[in-house]
């Protein structure tokens, strides 16, 4: 013990007189280890604390405070009591002592064993003895932190201080300038307000001391290490100012005053603060300021010079109106909402009749903002403005006027939120239903396309107002839409009509079933008006309206009938139209509500019918004369996603049935489930019939049936199916057939459960593939390669351990004289999502980040391969690399790029345009936030990009110009030296023969011109 006290004394001596700061740490360690107690330390400090030199005393207190900072957790209540008394006493000492005292007190505020009453006593001494704003930055921060700590743990005690606490705080922060401290002070003020401290008569003082910072004007210094932003300060201060209605009488005049400012950000801050505060207020808080607020808001919207201010003003108006609407319920005297809205209407309404003047739009926007605030506001505003708008629409003759009116009315309808009205309240627009309908219908018959388009939006909005339109209105609307579908030539109008029909069908399926669909059916079946554009619109309309199951039952037969007629030739459809019909079916499969009912429809009707039609067509053969359009590759390829989308969404039982039906059809020739069953008994779809491909290519439809099923669904006869698919993929000579067989095989392998049978399957397949690949004279090397790449993909996606064997094989093929370029392209397929198989939509086993994983495991191999490859093979490696990097997520590209940069730059000078293009698309996202490695290579990058802007290939020219454009956003001092050279080089593509290239060049050059130029960048 004696030794310890000697040690303590020497530590104190060394710290206080020797000025060795590190001894504080040692002392703290001693206390923590129990070598001596804090009170012993106080004792040992005795001499220094009694020194006549304030600096020595300060040094002594500093040692104690630093020790407390380390070990406040270990103190006992008794010790804390002594220490608090000690510190409080020291607050009265010389000012140089104050900083370490505050440090010590702060440490004590963190103690859990603070004795009752000590918080109050500490604060009383603090507020009494310390003038906070004459302290240094760090000490002020210390005070704020003390308050924050105590507010967290001793709330009840502090509240016991009553208004003294608020007053003490107000005095402490009055005049604070440092943004870091302001954030702390705002936090305290926010706590005071939100946690219900008594403001008493100091509400105004608290408001004054905080609101003097409003609006926040702060620009962080360059390279600010504290990272405090203007936005943070704005948010915190706003939370203080808007936190209580007690501030309303001070805040609202302040907002009105600041809105007069010329500074845009001050205006915006004021408007946002207004929006925030009224959500806390009641109408009585606002009453005396409504006129002033309205005058300011109106001015900001009427004379706005910025869209941001305008939208902030409108939002504030909505919030204000909604506050007034809320309060009305409890209001006894005057109805402040209607008083306010009268004011708004008074100033805005008459502008709605001055269609040639510029205040139409701002007025409409203000009224709409108010209208959207509440149901009551909607009623008041619409009752006041709609009659005049409707009247004007019928009396005005000028098209531009009518369009303006229609747009204004449309936005009023949109501003009324549909969910607002409760059931028994009157609908906002019901009084105007009839006039609005006739307005829409008359606009739909106009010849002006923009009127027609606006009318379709208005029709949609009206229909979305619940319970507004009558059945007869919907029927009339359908007549108009049908007419436009069949006759309107303008693309924009047709698109709008189809969109509107889709929205209406969602709400009124019955009307569509009885009216529109039969009409479209007649149209599709008719030979006379077989106008391609009309058919096209009808086909997309059928898809657009089919979101409700009941509609799907009616619409899909019409589409299937198109395919049927096309096959038999009873109605002449172009291949393009047949494809469109398939697309419509696919859209329906994607969008229809997922129910048992729609599942049945696809399972029972659509899929069997598609298979049946395709089979009939296949059996007719591929002779060029009179062959069915359904054997065309584009048509089959369009059918696949119909089936696979439907199957991926089927309930498991139905899915299982579909799978087994399909397997028995393809393996056994079982046609029993197909409609129009007049098929021969010997059908072998998975065997090639000589040179004929019309049957073998049907295997692509099998992909749709078996590869998109949920993984839980068992595919029957899987082994036999796999073996026949493998056989077909390696022997067939027809590209669609063998590729489809390989994809189908891969799709099944991907979902096959892990185990020996999968391993042996892969190994045998691999053996077979390698045998063909190794024999350079094999006629089916391409087929073997196709199977290899699809199986590689199937395994790579699920992280199968054998995938590396297959992908290594692919890498080795980059050196192959014939297959090298194909292998390089193959990596693009490997890394991208395929549309019809092996994607998450069809329940494939796709692990997250498989691309990154593949990349990180293989990039080194590629680089090595590149370095080792003979010159003429190098492009294959570059292409493979750029294909892989291109598909990586941007984040990964950015981190991986430095290592690959020189290779990618090499790739830019590779003569292969595919490589150039793919590399450019890799580079582009990286250029947005260039890593230092890239900036170091700027010279090489710029020269190579500039060389590519004269490429013979348009897409390369466009992509390289795009990259040069992106370069203009690099740090100015890095790229300024290139400015003249880039501008000179960009002069040439301004005269490119392709407009798209010129347009890219213009944009890039414009940015480079602005670089380093006044007012530019």
């Amino acid at each position: 013990m004696a030794a310890d006290s000697a040690l303590l004394l020497s530590l104190v001596e060394e710290f206080v007189s020797g000025l060795q700061d590190s001894k504080a740490k040692d002392t703290a360690t001693g206390v923590k280890d129990g070598q001596f107690t804090v009170l012993q330390l106080v004792e040992a400090l005795g001499l220094s604390l009694m020194s006549s030199q304030p600096h020595t005393r300060a040094r002594g207190v500093k040692l104690l405070s630093e020790v407390l900072h380390e070990c406040y957790g270990n103190l006992t209540e008794a010790e804390v009591e002594v220490l608090i008394a000690f510190y409080e006493n020291r607050l009265k000492d010389h000012y140089v002592i104050t900083p370490p005292v505050l440090q010590g007190l702060r440490a004590l505020t963190k103690c859990t064993v603070l004795p009752p009453g000590s918080a109050v006593s500490m604060l009383r001494s603090l507020f009494q003895d310390v003038h906070v704003q004459s302290l240094m930055l760090a000490e002020r921060s210390c005070v704020y932190n003390m308050l924050i700590n105590l507010m967290e743990t001793r709330e009840a005690e502090l509240k016991g201080l009553g208004t003294d606490f608020v007053f003490g705080f107000v005095q402490s922060m009055d005049g604070e300038r440092d943004p870091r401290n302001l954030l702390l002070a705002f936090q305290i003020a926010k706590n005071i307000i939100h946690r219900g401290y008594d403001l008493g008569k100091f509400a105004e003082e608290l408001f004054e001391v905080t609101s003097c910072y409003f609006p926040i004007d702060f620009t962080p210094p360059a390279n600010d290490p504290h990272g405090i932003t203007k936005e943070e300060l704005i948010e915190e201060l706003r939370a203080v100012l808007t936190g209580t209605p007690k501030f309303a009488e001070f805040l609202l005049p302040l907002i009105i005053e600041k809105l007069d400012s010329d500074v845009q950000s001050a205006k915006q801050d004021s408007l946002q603060t207004l929006t925030a505060c009224v959500s806390q207020y009641e109408h009585k808080d606002l009453a005396e300021f409504l006129e002033g607020l309205w005058a300011s808001l109106r001015r900001e919207v009427f004379q706005t010079s910025s869209e941001k201010i305008e939208s902030a003003g409108l939002t504030a108006l909505t919030a204000l109106t909604s506050c007034l609407s809320r309060s009305v319920l409890s209001s006894d005297s005057e109805d402040s909402l209607s008083t306010f809205l009268d004011m708004v209407l008074e100033d805005c309404k008459h502008h709605l009749s001055e269609l040639d003047l510029k205040l139409v739009w701002p007025s409409a926007k203000l009224l709409q903002a108010a209208c959207s605030a509440s149901n009551r506001a909607s009623h008041i505003i619409t009752a006041a403005v709609m009659p005049s708008l409707i009247e004007q629409y019928s009396s005005r003759t000028q098209c531009s006027h009518r369009r303006t009116l229609l747009e204004v009315v449309l936005r009023f309808i949109q501003s009324v939120k549909t969910s607002q009205a409760s059931e028994n309240e009157e609908r906002v627009f019901s009084a105007f239903r009839e006039s609005l309908c006739s307005m829409v219908f008359s606009a739909l018959t106009e010849t002006n396309t923009s009127l027609q388009i606006t009318a379709t939006s208005m029709l949609t909005s009206l229909a979305q107002q619940p319970g507004l339109l009558l059945d007869s209105d919907i029927e009339l609307a359908l007549d108009h839409l049908t007419r436009l579908l069949l006759t309107e030539e303008d693309d924009g109008v047709s698109l709008a009509v189809v969109k509107c029909a889709g929205a209406l069908a969602e709400l009124h399926p019955a009307a569509f079933i009885t009216k529109l669909i039969p009409r479209l059916k007649t149209e599709e079946a008719s030979e006379q008006h077989s106008h391609h554009a009309v058919r096209q619109r009808c086909l997309s309309a059928l898809a657009a309206v089919s979101t409700q199951p009941s509609v799907v039952w009616e619409s899909t037969p019409v589409l299937l009938e198109v395919l049927g007629s096309a096959h038999t030739g009873s109605v002449c459809f172009s291949v393009e139209e047949v494809v469109l019909a398939c697309r419509s079916l696919q859209r329906i499969a994607e969008r229809v509500q997922d129910t048992e009912e729609t599942g049945q429809c696809f399972h029972e009707i659509i899929i069997p019918r598609l298979l049946s039609l395709a089979l009939q067509a296949a059996l007719q053969g591929e002779g060029s004369s009179g062959r069915s359009p359904l054997v065309e590759e584009v048509v089959l390829s369009a059918m696949v996603p119909v089936i696979s989308t439907a199957c991926s969404r089927l309930q498991p039982t139905l899915a299982g049935q579909t799978a087994s039906r399909a397997v028995s059809l393809f393996l056994d020739g079982d046609v029993s489930f197909l409609p129009d069953n007049s098929f021969p008994s010997q059908i072998q779809l998975l065997k090639q019939q000589g040179d004929s491909w019309s049957q073998s290519q049907m295997v692509c439809l099998l992909i749709g049936c078996v590869c998109s099923l949920p993984r839980s669904v068992e595919v029957p006869q899987i082994d036999q199916l796999l073996s026949q698919l493998e056989e077909m993929s390696c022997t067939c000579s027809h590209p669609l057939s063998y590729t489809s067989a390989a994809k189908c095989f891969a799709g099944l392998v991907n979902k096959r459960s892990e185990g020996d049978s999968l391993h042996s399957l892969i190994q045998s397949t691999m053996k077979k593939v390698c045998r063909e690949l190794h024999s350079t004279s094999s006629p089916v090397r391409t087929q073997a390669f196709t199977l290899l790449i699809w199986v590689s993909k199937a395994l790579l996606l699920r992280y199968h351990p054998l995938s590396i064997v297959l992908t290594d094989k692919l890498f080795s093929l980059l050196d192959d004289a014939d297959l090298g370029p194909m292998a390089a392209d193959g990596f693009s397929m490997l890394m991208s999502d395929s549309a019809d198989v092996l994607n998450r939509g069809c329940h494939a086993d796709v692990r997250i980040m498989y691309r990154q994983r593949f990349f990180s495991e293989n990039s080194a191999k590629l680089v090595q391969g590149f370095n080792a490859a003979p010159q003429e093979k190098k492009p294959n490696y570059l292409k493979a690399l750029s294909n892989i990097v291109n598909k990586l997520p941007k984040q990964v590209q950015v981190t991986e790029l430095p290592a690959l940069l020189s290779l990618l730059l090499e790739a830019l000078s590779c003569p292969d345009q595919g490589v150039q293009l793919s590399t450019l698309s890799c580079l582009e996202p990286v250029l947005i936030d260039p890593p230092p490695a890239l900036i170091q290579q700027l010279e090489a990058l710029v020269s190579r990009l500039l060389a590519l802007i004269c490429s013979p290939t348009m897409t390369v020219r466009i992509a390289s110009l795009h990259c040069i454009h992106a370069l203009s956003r690099f740090p100015e001092h890095e790229i300024l030296p290139f400015r003249a050279r880039v501008l000179r080089a960009l002069a040439r593509p301004l005269d490119d023969k392709k407009r798209l290239v010129r347009s890219e060049a213009v944009q890039a050059r414009a940015e480079w011109f602005l670089l380093g130029s006044p007012g530019g960048r």
Binding site: R299, Q303, S305, K994, R995, R1005, S1013, P1014
Partner: protein, 159 residues
């Protein structure tokens, strides 16, 4: 109303923007030579910002496609622009912005004439003569405060 802003024409009539030019198959065909046409020139200038409004020249109807004439084979471009009000003091600046935009965007073989739509401005002749004087235009662009305003008109809108 007392606003903080002092615009000459505080509340201009706003016109709708035309959409992006639609892509055609020939635009994407390598072999086809797309001549520079009126719409292409119009697309270059329609998005120029007005010096005093957060609006484009197209939205203010200062430029219209019918007032753009280009002859690609003879390398000439002729633009008429219509100031929003007949005493607009910004007319020269707007014309200068159009001219600079075209100088930066067109191949240098083009002769570019920019003038005011006849009868729409009080100082039409004086403004036209200034815009046609390339020496004055060159000197103006060496004036950094003027260049700053022009560049702001030509910047992609950031408000």
């Amino acid at each position: 109303m007392s606003g903080g802003t002092q615009l000459e024409n505080a509340n201009p009539v706003i016109f709708q923007r035309s959409g992006e030019r639609l892509l055609t198959a020939s635009d994407e065909d390598e072999e086809v030579h797309d001549p520079i046409d009126d719409r292409e020139i119009f697309d270059l200038i329609r998005s120029i910002n007005d010096p005093e409004h957060p609006l484009s020249l197209e939205e203010l109807n200062v430029v219209e496609q019918v007032r753009v004439k280009v002859n690609d084979t003879e390398s000439t471009v002729d633009i008429e622009f219509t100031p929003t009000i007949p005493h607009c003091s910004m007319a020269t600046l707007i014309g200068l912005s159009i001219k600079v935009k075209l100088l930066r965007s067109l191949p240098d073989r083009f002769k570019i004439d920019v003038h005011i739509t006849p009868g729409t401005h009080a100082s039409e002749e004086a403004v036209n003569k200034q815009l046609a004087d390339k020496e004055r235009v060159a000197a103006a662009l060496e004036n950094s405060s003027l260049l700053e305003v022009v560049n702001q008109c030509l910047s992609t809108r950031s408000i």
